[in-house]
């Protein structure tokens, strides 16, 4: 396996270096160019960079483990929800692209500051994404590092692997900016797709086919075959709250918003949406097979034992080597986008426009160190932590959507930003500090989404009436 690993590793490194070089050559000193890569992404690059940013280590690790633990209901949480999000790219994406282009913005923070005529809105957005994106970025690093510490032929500790991964990310993103990240995402997205299908075919062969796999599960643990699953997690409220949190990710997670704004034109953006939808199915379908395979072959093992067996021990040396490279690629493609988005959004805090690129790189470095520190202390529960990130940033959605769908001359006031801040504080205190998920039998994020949305809709019509 070591020889194959060396071969794939060299090919991948060469491709990454080449794309960084191309991106650097295409780049000029315009900060907008650095942040959006010139805003000229076509459908092909758009789909791959969006999908590679969306799907990370949890495609090969978190998703299969989630299916193995909670059963087929995970398809609703991951499959249906992500395709629905792709549909809503048409609604949210076209509007964001239009208003950002017309009003000349390239970061959500500065757009919110302008829309609400107050720094408060942009600061609340920044607080939200700092709190929920750094942990999200760090779990990618955590996932791949803990896997490599056990499974890679080169024996390094988790922390060392984390440092290696972040160093590579910082190198190519600082050389080529957003464009380098987009090119590397394209490579990483294709590797991920190839690897997840190769492994799923091998797994199906191993268990005697699709029907046989479910027959074994029916005998061993039938609760995996319906909701809420063996642990009772996937009930209606969990699935519905997750749906709402995830479908609005194109506006609440800046690493995804950036990709919508960076599309060449709205026609390219429109056609990107169905391509993302089909890509989602093409990725989650084999991930489901991997999870169900795990339920048959590794029902009681720890996540690390499951991943090691599924991705390395049960595969041929060629596929195992390609899987390791695919996992590294997947982790990097999400983390680099998140760190870059955090750095880009934080430029609003800068006092002047001098050396914006250098300062953005400095901010990205700071966030990378933050993600590294968090990854050392976080758990291996990748999907629940990712979901917490989606739910947390989801609280900001009504404030963002109100700004996006309002006209420039509408006076939006500060009620929605202030209530969003209160909502964030309630969510953080209840979920992170007290681990309390329900209030009066209803999930807290559902209550917050409902109340904030009502206030945002009311504000929209009130402000519209004033200018009529």
């Amino acid at each position: 396996m070591i020889i194959w690993l060396a071969i794939f590793g060299i090919i991948y490194t060469l491709l990454l270096s080449y794309t960084s070089y191309i991106a650097k050559k295409e780049r000029n000193l315009d900060p907008k160019e650095f942040a959006l890569g010139g805003g000229n992404l076509n459908v092909f690059l758009g789909v791959l960079t969006y999908s590679a940013t969306l799907f990370s280590t949890f495609t090969l690790m978190g998703m299969p483990n989630f299916f193995r633990t909670h059963g087929v209901g995970a398809w609703i949480f991951l499959g249906v929800t992500d395709v629905a999000m792709a549909f809503l790219i048409i609604l949210f994406g076209l509007r964001i692209h239009k208003v950002f282009q017309q009003r000349n913005f390239y970061s959500m923070g500065s757009f919110l500051k302008h829309s609400y005529q107050s720094k408060l809105a942009s600061n609340i957005f920044l607080i939200g994404i700092f709190i929920f994106l750094i942990p999200y970025a760090s779990i990618q690093i955590k996932g791949i590092s803990s896997f490599l510490a056990i499974s890679a032929p080169i024996k390094l500790s988790e922390t060392y692997w984390s440092v290696v991964m972040l160093s590579i990310i910082l190198s190519y993103s600082s050389v080529g900016g957003f464009k380098a990240i987009v090119y590397s995402d394209a490579i990483q997205g294709l590797i991920l797709l190839a690897v997840v299908w190769l492994i799923s075919f091998a797994c199906l062969e191993n268990v005697g086919g699709f029907g046989e796999m479910f027959n074994v599960i029916k005998e061993n643990d039938p609760k995996l075959l319906s909701i809420p699953g063996p642990k009772g997690l996937l009930d209606f409220q969990f699935l519905f709250a997750s749906f709402l949190s995830i479908v609005i990710m194109p506006v609440t997670q800046p690493q995804l918003t950036t990709r919508l704004i960076a599309m060449k034109n709205r026609k390219q953006l429109r056609m990107m949406a169905p391509s993302v939808a089909f890509f989602v199915i093409a990725v989650i379908l084999p991930a489901t097979i991997l999870g169900m395979y795990g339920a048959v072959k590794y029902p009681t093992q720890t996540p690390q034992e499951f991943w090691n067996g599924l991705l390395i021990q049960d595969q041929s040396p060629v596929i195992a080597a390609l899987t390791i490279i695919g996992l590294i690629a997947a982790a990097m493609s999400t983390t680099d986008s998140q760190l870059f988005a955090l750095g880009n959004e934080s430029t609003i805090l800068l006092k002047d426009d001098k050396n914006v690129q250098a300062k953005t790189k400095g901010l990205i470095f700071i966030f990378a160190v933050g993600a590294l520190l968090f990854s050392i202390f976080s758990t291996d529960n990748l999907v629940p932590l990712a979901r917490l990130s989606f739910a947390g940033t989801g609280v900001l959605a009504p404030m963002i959507l109100l700004a996006i769908f309002s006209e420039e001359n509408q006076k939006l006031g500060l009620l929605v930003p202030i209530l969003s801040l209160v909502g964030l504080i309630i969510f953080i205190i209840s979920t992170l500090i007290y681990s309390k998920v329900y209030f009066g039998g209803i999930r807290i994020e559902l209550i917050l989404y409902f109340v904030l949305s009502l206030v945002a809709i009311f504000t929209y019509f009130q402000s519209k009436k004033k200018i009529a």
Binding site: L94, P274, I281
Partner: protein, 67 residues
């Protein structure tokens, strides 16, 4: 954007989502009927996802947006 066309596709989208979160797709503790060797929530969920993807394709193609 042609509002009528968009509203038509958006209505279908809402119906598909309503069906997804109904007992038709996610009945608690029920795996039957099986189709192609898959339990109900899985095959129905995959079917909904494919329908949503096709709907996204039609919706994207039908919208004429001004540039």
């Amino acid at each position: 954007m042609n509002k009528k066309v968009w509203l038509f596709y958006f209505s279908i989208f809402l119906v598909l989502i309503a069906v997804t979160f109904s007992p038709l797709v996610i009945p608690s503790g029920v795996a039957t009927p099986w189709v192609l060797g898959m339990p109900r929530t899985l095959w129905a969920g995959i079917l909904i996802s494919v329908l949503l993807a096709v709907l996204t394709l039609f919706a994207a193609q039908s919208i004429k947006d001004e540039e």
